[in-house]
Amino acid sequence: MSFSFLKFRKIPLAWLLLTRQPLRLAVAIAGISFAGILMFMQLGFRDGLFDTSVTIHKLLDADLVLISPRSKSSISMSGFPKRRLIQTLAVEDVEKTAPVNLNYLLWRNPENLKTRSILALGFNPSDSLLLNEGFSKKAYKLRNPSRVLFDKLSRPEFGPIEKWFLSEKKVETEVAGKRVIVEGLVELGPSFGADGNLITSRETFLRLFPANPPGSIEIGLVKLKKGSDPELISRILNNSLPNDVRVLTKNQFIEFEKNYWKNSTAIGFIFSLGALMGFVVGCVVVYQILYSDVTDHLPEYATLLAMGYRIKSLFFVVAREGFLLALFGYLPAYFCGQILYSVIRSSTKLPIIMDAEKTILIFVLVLVMCMGSAAVAMRKLVDADPAEIF
């Protein structure tokens, strides 16, 4: 049995050079981890913003969504005629539809009586609005007028609604200056656009917001028959319906909302810039560490050159140092990121999660940061003159 890999095994010079000065290594790891944590936080907030903006969008029980072409996002929805939704039933693949009203109304905190804007959704309780299991049972209670379902993940500024409701206390308050009773709790989650949500019947919604014409809706949900192609049907509907309505697949509707936050506001840019700052800070830290490491060991590198080692081999040593720093700097950043995400989730209820995309993206950024800095530090190696060591 031959162990050919043993021929390629070498003394772990990069590792030994790095660990020779533990304090310097610790400082380097701390610097890289800090940069990594900064990037995790910034990209986490950015993705959290985009994800929260589509929390309700994702929960809607629909294959296609009708909106007004004038709608910009969930925070500035325009109405369109409800009859457009009925017209979609002419297409054979459409199974059912559900009209939804959506607007921001003022909620009065029943404890301190302060008002705050809340996102209100109005729908017919007999329709299917959300994919949430058990929702239809709760929706049944909305058939009585002035009844609402309160989002228990809403910010605490709306009052101790969940606590009161669970203690079987009658929760009564005002929305848009009109009395409502909380009949149940749902879990939707706040977003950057809305601190809280409530769901009610269309009848109650129109009572709370009488300026809204009864024949106008903000969202039309379309459920297709099994096996239908949403892309195809949306194209057919867009061609056949008048221009006062726009038909999107559910994914397109989610992207429509995300694109608003990405392109029409500075939020995406600000968080991306924050992540870039973390990247730059990390580059400076790693470069300083590797540059001083190469400078300190210059006579030793020159000795190796004098012995007949190729300068390429020495470049690889520095590159391996960069890789090891990336690895050791990333791991604490990842675990700290997990902890901080969890703290933010529990304190702000923002859905900031450590997904595979972020995990890989930040590892690649840390790797690029360390390898790029190593590549720049390598230039110093050229100064290692073997003739000078005699």
């Binding site: 162990f3 043993l6 021929k7 095994r9 070498k10 003394i11 010079l13 030994l16 050079l17 660990t19 020779r20 060991h297 006579p299 030793e300 020159a302 000795t303 190796l304 050159l305 004098a306 012995m307 007949g308 080692y309 190729r310 073997p386 003739a387 060591i389 005699f390």
Partner: protein, 242 residues
Amino acid sequence: MVKANKSKNNVKNLKTVSINNLSHFYGKNENKKQVLNDVNLNIDKGELVLLKGPSGCGKTTLLTLIGALRTCQSGDLTVLNNQLNGASRKTRQILRRSIGMIFQGHNLLRCLTAEQNVQMGADLIKGLTYLQRREIARNWLSAVGLEEHHKKLPNDLSGGQKQRVAIARALSANPKLLLADEPTSALDSVTGREIVTLLRKLAKEQNCSVLMVTHDPRISDMADRILNMEDGKIFSAHSELI
């Protein structure tokens, strides 16, 4: 005619170093200074040559030129059958693998143990496994009497022990030529003699030529030949210009 050429080649092959009219300069224009002046020198296989001379006479420059660490400017310099005048960087780098170098300041890698330092030399030998290379390193450490110190870092070794490690490192790559710059300067007379005795013994066993720059008069009797250098020229021990 063919026979004559062959004979000439055989003579050439016996020489580890062959230098004809080698000159070297530092600086440019009015700052240009000649440090080697038409140097001629031959070193045979297995020969131990001592090179003496005052500071600044060009000894180290000659050593670095023979060690393929500098580019040759003028004259012929053949080391181990490689003409170094006009040689590429790659040729010089490959040639250096056949030349062992012992530096005045040891230049051991501070982060490596004595054994790892020696193995850095053995790692240049192709076709060996890691364990074989480590075995070579251990054998050389044993040969210089440091088998019990193989796990020590350079900072934990005395000056003499560091020099022995440097010698073991230089010899572990099976060099055909050994260049040593003041290897005994930091050592007491007993250790200095021990080191040179060891070098001579190991060099003879490996048929390796040794060129040693030294000011140490205590080791003169151990050399095959002693050369003096002054103002960029080489003289024999009897002040005869060669």
